[in-house]
């Protein structure tokens, strides 16, 4: 069904999933193309879908929702114009979804949302008075993959994907399917089946287990420069550790988040750098390599060398809260900044950018 045929208030599910590397896939990811869009608007055989897509449809039906948005099916993959428009609309697609189903445990579409869980073990032992006691034990579930930057991505492969980082932040509600548990995540809370993820620390009488999505949702629309910078630097650090299949997606896969955080306080956006954070924003630095990847510069042009988006490496910048601003001086002046956008998305891909005065082009 075409989106234009739906009412504005139609409730739909959006799927957050990993395409995975082609060599790892058993079944190809089904895609809508210019050649098959008419057929896809009529019907798609469920047998043609990957296991993850089939599971997501089953979950949607059980939730009573009739519509689902899946990127490979809802964006015409060989239509550059449709792809650019859709990439620019990603923020609203995920933010307006009634719920996002996150296939967090999957590396490819073959894995599916549902896992075969390791059950608990029954142990029976005798106490000193010879009375028998039975206990059930199971492996402790790690929750830090949800509350912190994952130290490794293996148990949560989806979290390594750059596109999915944004999808998680933008979604109003998410159900995460992992190997051990199902998690509920929204702008207010993060909950798991065993109940131990909602940590013991409370701030302002609100649960605070370090979950970034909760913090992001709480502050992203506040016109508070310090808070916006704090969020942006955390996003920069987190996002720069994620991986992409297509290097040119680096800015488009962050565009939805950038458009949400944008504000006159920050000024215009130049490939990951906000105008009003110059010149100090030039002082970012790499912070170790990327998990599972060697730090490097992509072969094609992606961003100016003065932006952290120019390299594939985990990056950090200065923490505004740790600054002693009384002693800071900036002998450097940025006289002019500009960039050439490839699409109409002001936060999307660029073909050139410079710091100069007078303008270069």
């Amino acid at each position: 069904m075409l989106a234009s045929e739906l009412k504005n208030d139609t409730e739909y599910v959006a799927l957050s999933h990993s395409w995975g590397r082609e060599v790892d896939r058993v079944k190809p990811i089904p895609r809508t193309t210019i050649g098959n869009i008419e057929n896809h608007c009529q019907s798609i055989d469920i047998a043609d879908l990957t296991r993850t897509f089939q599971d997501a449809i089953q979950i949607s039906r059980r939730l009573g929702l009739k519509h689902i948005w899946i990127d490979s099916l809802c964006i015409v993959q060989d239509d550059k114009r449709d792809w650019e428009v859709s990439a620019g609309q990603m923020a609203s697609i995920y933010a307006n979804a009634y719920i996002v189903i996150s296939a967090t445990r999957t590396k490819t579409g073959d894995d599916g949302c549902f896992s075969e869980r390791v059950g608990s073990h029954k142990l029976t032992t005798a106490k000193e008075d010879e009375q028998l006691v039975t206990v059930f034990v199971r492996r402790e579930t790690e929750h830090r993959y949800f509350t912190q930057t994952p130290p490794i991505f293996d148990p949560v492969p989806l979290f390594e994907r750059a596109w999915c980082f944004q999808e998680r932040l933008l979604a109003r509600r998410i159900i995460h399917y992992t190997d051990d548990e199902i998690y509920w995540e929204c702008g207010q809370s993060l909950l798991c089946e065993c109940g131990s993820v909602e940590g013991p620390v409370y701030r302002d009488n609100k649960p605070d287990n370090g979950n970034f999505k909760v913090q992001y949702t709480r502050h992203v629309h506040k016109e508070d420069l310090t808070m916006k910078l704090h969020l942006w630097y955390q996003i920069m650090h987190e996002y720069s550790q994620r991986a992409l299949t297509f290097e040119n997606d680096f800015l488009p896969a962050l565009s939805g988040t950038a458009s949400q955080i944008a504000s006159p306080l920050l000024g215009r956006y130049y490939a990951g750098i906000w105008e009003h954070t110059m010149p100090q924003a030039l002082l970012w630095r790499p912070w170790g390599g990327k998990l599972n990847h060697v730090a490097r510069r992509p072969p094609g042009y992606r961003a100016p060398s003065w932006s952290w988006a120019a390299i594939d490496a985990a990056c950090i910048t200065w923490d505004i809260n740790a600054e002693n601003t009384d002693d800071l001086e900036y002998p450097c002046q940025i006289l002019g900044l500009d960039r050439t956008l490839i699409s109409s998305d002001p936060y999307g891909q660029i073909s050139d950018a410079y710091i100069a005065w007078p303008p270069l082009f």
């Binding site: 510069r297 060398s305 390299i311 002693d327 900036y330 450097c332 050139d352």
Partner: protein
């Protein structure tokens, strides 16, 4: 950008303890370590040993920060004024422009040798 600029020579040095290459900027009678964006010897766009680079001063600040939360780390080290900036090399994409290859910081007294220049960064 208009900034105080220093000219430096890149020096490679192998750090046995860290088992990795380190890079230094030799300039104005001093040396400061370059925090490279990516290893400088890696192609494409390598910056070889003995290359001439520019150092652009972005800001000056007291370092370490005279804030009590850091005293446990820095002990009695007295804060001093330091400059922080970028290491730039001529751009391979655009003539007469420069591109960033890393960061550097050093003592402010060397800034007397700097010259204010307008540079185009790409």
């Amino acid at each position: 950008m208009a900034a105080p600029i220093l000219t430096a020579t890149v020096r490679y040095s192998w750090n046995k303890d860290l088992d990795s290459m380190q890079y230094w900027a030799d300039y104005a009678g001093t040396s400061d370590r370059i925090e490279e964006d990516l290893p400088l010897e890696v192609s494409p766009g390598a910056t070889p040993d003995n290359s001439e680079v520019l150092l652009a001063v972005v800001r000056t600040t007291l370092y370490p920060l005279p804030i009590s939360m850091f005293s446990a780390i820095w002990g009695d080290r007295k804060p001093e004024h330091r400059w922080q900036g970028l290491v730039l090399r001529p751009s391979s994409r655009r003539p007469n422009c420069y591109e960033r290859i890393g960061r550097v910081e050093g003592p402010v007294h060397v800034l007397q040798d700097s010259v204010r220049r307008d540079l185009v960064l790409v």
